[in-house]
């Protein structure tokens, strides 16, 4: 996936959930990515965040942090 496409898709998700209270928006964005993105797409997103995450909505960065924490703890987020 081109990183522009990935960034656009991730930001689109965050933009939808932004209407919700902050904590909920972070959890829903994380949950959506976890539910619908295959692991290689998630890894690419994590890598992008790892290298600065340019172009990404803040909500996506926070969601990625939640997801990484979740996978480190081995819990499923849905």
């Amino acid at each position: 996936m081109k990183s522009t496409d990935m960034i656009r898709m991730a930001n689109q998700i965050a933009t939808y959930f932004k209407s919700y209270p902050h904590d909920e928006a972070v959890a829903e964005t994380a949950g959506h990515i976890k539910s619908f993105w295959d692991p290689r797409m998630r890894d690419a997103l994590y890598a992008h965040v790892g290298s600065g995450g340019s172009g990404l909505d803040d909500l996506v960065r926070e969601a990625v942090a939640v997801l990484k924490r979740g996978s480190a703890e081995g819990q499923a987020i849905r």
Partner: protein, 950 residues
């Protein structure tokens, strides 16, 4: 096997709480009030002679053949137009009646050619039958007087002829066209003896308003309107009940056969979805099934630039298995996947997704619903709890206000379109929300109360404006919301939607819809009685497709328009089995019945039955597969009956992804566009060769029955079983019914479904289980599937696809009545007579600015690609918007569409592309390349002995 003739009760069924008892020829008969004497007699097994009556249309009382005697009444009333009365005593056969009827028949026959033996309808002619029934033995009036015997035939329609010399002016055709089809193309011109049926003002059928649905042909009692296929082959000798394989209406048909040759397709009166009606595609456009382009033998090749080589099934399957495993060995387990098709049966789809999950060992399976109704799946699941339309089609008969959004049912879902028109003629109101002035906005005896002609891309702003009016003008059904919906979600939605930025006035510059019109439409939907939402791809194929689906669900919940007849939120599904392919677990994140792959409990049930470990992570969706292919992590793809190279957006991107793969397998009827990028071709079967089920837009599971053996020697599901067995995962079924048994075992909403039950009941609508053994016509009756209905916030976010100085117009796409999607089937039938090429509709103002005239060749270009096609000046679209169809591959409409997609599901944004249109005199570069590559990549090498490849 169905009997060749279906019972004709003469007049339509009546429904009433009051039953009437009467005596007919000494038999006591009980029927609902309002029933005609003719129908009451027929139900008691007494067939009164008739000519102008048939049970699909209202009685007319013109032929006088059906007269009866009623005790205590003078004269001989027509039994078709006389309703039953309590205690009535009727005689259908007396010597007086006999004489009168003979006289009537004598007059008819005196103006009728007596060429019965060579007439195409010999044996199926009601005039002939009636002459026999009334005992006609002589005709006293010769042919010397005025007659119609030399009237000229109209053979302009590719599928039926009109031979006026045989017409008895019964007007059954006229009434069928008006009542059943709702087109009003036919009239009886002239009076008395000069009466003659006419299509339009002295026009041929082809030049008239006729849409070739065939209802008139079916209603005609003589050989006047006759299928050309019957004229060619003669009368059928047996019939098989099956289901149309075109659109999501899912019409039931009787394939009328001679041996294994189809003579005609006749819509089945018993069909739950269509009740005896059909459109031009289902009734007539089935010739593709035996078209010369069909491929019957498996083929393989090493590289896509090599010619194809025909091989045995065994070799093709062995080659495919070995190539797929080789790709996995080299690039990893997740480097291959499959795409299921909404054209295939539930059973065929189920085995393909099982192949991917159990044998490939990943969840890289997706379906063509990705590019049409995936937002429906997401949106309705979030709000109501399951991905399905809420009503059956018949529900519209109780609708008072239809809100039709982004759908064009008279072209896309014609039989349901006719049903809507019928209800509209009875007085229901219609609100159309669509950039295009579709036919329903104004057609004979139908006029929309409001046409909200919104700008493409502004759907969510518009639905929010409607909801804003409902919330701020106190039109919310508070009792319904309090009882049925989640209060926290509702409160925050109410606060959001009430904000002034969602008002019709503030959104007017975005939507282009006058605020007063928007307010009036909202009030009508909220207060006009039963309000039902019907929608199509004009809702889903946007970057906010899922948001829009949720916006409509919000609207229905807020007004209490859910959970009973006449209301609901109803996706008009595109393909015959979109609903089914989604139900069967074709999405990369869901097992059958919409259960997430990460659910350990669900997965373990499948693992036990399938004896395979399943991946708990979601797989790649179709656009993600293409991205991964260009990135080098996705290298093998099995494509079942879908032409992704033509139907998916941004063709350049799709084809370069396909070119980057090392093993592409296509299973299809034809060497389609995708097959030009394939290494293995498995010939597929047409619906006439399939045994299984399709599920239509109302969740109705219909049987598809084999009318001929698979011409390829194997059912499609058998090929999949053989392939995975060769890959080391043994899979076997004796027949399709065993696959359905497995689906039922693994899917709670299908638990009660079996072929035996479907054969017994005709069809069932899921959920079909212990709680609803005969299925569920209406959903969410006592509560939502998810418990409490969930209002979702629907902030309007404009698409990133914007017009600019270079691309100042918006392109939107759609389809027409006579063709089906990529046209693979309909282009191989006489339907091309109506639509030989894709046309670009351009508004007169935009045309004038560019110096375009009707019929000019124009170049249509977006920032991703360009194509050339012919322009038609039309004001159906607002200024600034152009429109085309995508039925012909050479147009390559998707060369122009972009990578933008729905935020939740990646459903492509086909409905909004910024473009420029200029005059042109040559095909685009893409078209030139397409022609030359296509010819080369479809070459088949002369037959040679099979060799093991690689």
């Amino acid at each position: 096997m169905a009997s060749i003739k279906q019972m004709d009760y003469g007049t339509p069924e009546r429904v009433s709480d009051t039953q009437v008892t009467l005596d007919i020829d000494g038999r006591v008969v009980m029927v609902p009030a309002g029933t005609s004497i003719m129908r009451a007699a027929a139900e008691a097994g007494i067939n009164v002679p008739k000519l102008c009556a048939t049970d699909s249309i209202e009685a007319f009382g013109s032929c006088r053949l059906c007269m009866v005697e009623v005790e205590g009444r003078k004269g001989t009333p027509a039994s078709c137009t006389t309703p039953v009365m309590p205690g009535m005593k009727v005689k259908t056969q007396t010597s007086r009646l006999e004489k009168l009827r003979r006289g009537v028949m004598e007059l008819y026959i005196s103006d009728h050619p007596l060429d019965c033996l060579t007439c195409p309808t010999n044996g199926d002619c009601e005039l002939q039958d009636m002459a026999g029934v009334v005992g006609l033995r002589q005709v006293r009036y010769g042919f010397d007087g005025a007659n119609h015997l030399k009237a000229e035939k109209d053979e302009s329609n590719p599928y039926f002829t009109f031979d006026p010399s045989k017409c008895i002016a019964c007007s059954r055709c006229v009434r069928a066209c008006a009542e059943t089809q709702g087109t009003f193309a036919l009239t009886i011109a002239g009076r008395g003896f000069d009466s003659i049926v006419s299509a339009g003002a002295e026009e041929s059928f082809m030049d008239s308003e006729c849409v070739s649905c065939g209802a008139c042909v079916q209603a005609c009692p003589t050989a006047t309107l006759m299928e050309k296929s019957v004229i060619e082959h003669g009368m059928p000798e047996h019939a098989v009940q099956t289901t149309c394989a075109y659109c999501g209406v899912g019409c039931s048909f009787r394939a009328e056969m001679q041996g294994d040759t189809v003579v005609r397709m006749v819509p089945d009166k018993e069909g739950g979805a269509n009740e005896g009606h059909s459109c031009v595609k289902g009734r007539f456009a089935w010739g593709y099934a035996t078209h010369q382009d069909r491929i019957y033998k498996p083929m393989i090749r090493e590289r896509i630039t090599d010619p194809w080589r025909e091989v045995s099934w065994e070799d093709a399957i062995g080659y495919a298995a070995q190539r797929l495993r080789a790709v996995q060995a080299k690039y990893g387990n997740g480097s291959i996947g499959g795409i299921t098709s909404s054209r295939c049966t539930n059973e065929e789809v189920f085995v393909v997704q099982k192949m991917v999950r159990a044998a490939f060992g990943n969840n890289n399976v997706d379906t063509c619903a990705r590019v049409c109704h995936s937002p429906t799946g997401y949106g309705l699941k979030q709000t109501f709890g399951t991905s399905a339309g809420t009503q059956d089609f018949a529900s519209v008969d109780d609708t008072d206000v239809m809100l039709l959004i982004g759908a064009n049912p008279t072209d896309g879902h014609p039989v349901f379109g006719s049903r809507m028109k019928k209800r509209l003629r009875q007085g229901a109101k219609l609100i159309v929300m669509d950039p295009r002035r579709i036919d329903l906005v104004k057609s004979p005896h139908v006029k929309a109360a409001h046409h909200l002609q919104l700008r493409p891309g502004a759907n969510v702003a518009a639905v929010n404006a409607l909801a804003h009016v409902i919330v701020t003008e106190g039109l919310v059904d508070e009792a319904f919301v309090a009882e049925r919906c989640d209060p926290v979600e509702f409160d925050r939605w109410r606060a959001f939607i009430a904000e002034p930025r969602n008002s019709p006035e503030v959104t007017e510059p975005l939507t282009g819809i006058p605020a007063s019109e928007m307010r009036a439409a909202a009030r009508l939907y909220a207060t006009g009685g039963n309000g039902a939402i019907y929608y199509g791809l004009g809702v889903t194929e946007h970057s906010q497709g899922s948001t829009m689906v949720m916006g409509m669900a919000n609207l229905a919940m807020a007004t209490g328009n859910i959970g009973r007849r006449g209301v609901g939120v109803n996706p008009l599904r595109g393909q015959n089995n979109v609903q089914g392919s989604c139900d069967m677990g074709s999405f990369p994140h869901e097992l059958s019945g919409y259960r997430h792959v990460s659910d350990d409990a669900v997965r373990s049930v499948f693992e036990e039955v399938w004896q395979a470990a399943l991946d708990p992570e979601p797989g790649l969706r179709i656009p993600n597969m293409f991205d991964a292919a260009t990135h080098g992590t996705f290298k093998g793809l099995f494509v079942q009956g879908e032409d992704i190279a033509q139907s998916d957006p941004n063709t350049h991107h799709v084809t370069s992804a396909l070119e980057a793969m090392e093993c592409v397998i296509v299973q299809d009827l034809f060497l389609n566009e995708t097959a030009t990028f394939a290494h293995i071709f498995f010939p597929g079967t047409s619906f006439l060769e399939k045994d299984g089920t399709f599920t239509n837009a109302e969740r109705r599971i219909n049987r598809v029955r084999q009318v001929m053996a698979p011409k390829t020697g194997k059912a499609e599901w058998q090929v999949i079983c053989d392939l995975v067995t060769a890959m080391g995962y043994p899979m076997h079924y004796d027949n399709a019914s065993q696959i359905m048994d497995e689906i039922a075992r693994l899917t709670p909403t299908f638990r009660g479904v079996s072929f035996e039950k479907l054969d017994r009941l005709g069809s069932v609508q899921w959920p079909c289980n212990d709680a609803a053994p005969e299925g569920t016509p209406l959903m969410h009756v006592d509560g939502f599937i998810r418990g409490k209905g969930r209002f979702m916030i629907t902030e309007f976010v404009p698409t990133e696809e914007r017009t600019s100085r270079y691309f100042p117009l918006i392109l939107t796409t759609g389809r027409i009545l006579s063709h089906y999607n990529v046209g693979a089937q309909t282009r191989r039938t006489a339907n091309v007579a109506w639509h030989p090429e894709d046309i670009l509709e351009v508004h007169p103002h935009d045309a004038e600015e560019r110096g375009l005239r009707d019929g000019d060749l124009v170049s249509l270009a977006s920032r991703v690609g360009g194509t050339t096609l012919r322009a038609k000046i039309s004001d159906r679209m607002p200024q600034g918007v152009v429109y085309t169809t995508f039925h012909h591959p050479v147009t390559g409409a998707n060369v122009v569409t972009t990578e933008h997609s729905d935020w939740a599901t990646n459903c492509p944004e086909y409905k909004v592309t910024a473009v420029q249109v200029t005059r042109s005199n040559q095909p685009s570069d893409w078209q030139v390349q397409y022609e030359s590559d296509g010819i080369q990549r479809r070459q088949i090498a002369p037959a040679s002995p099979p060799q093991a490849a690689e």
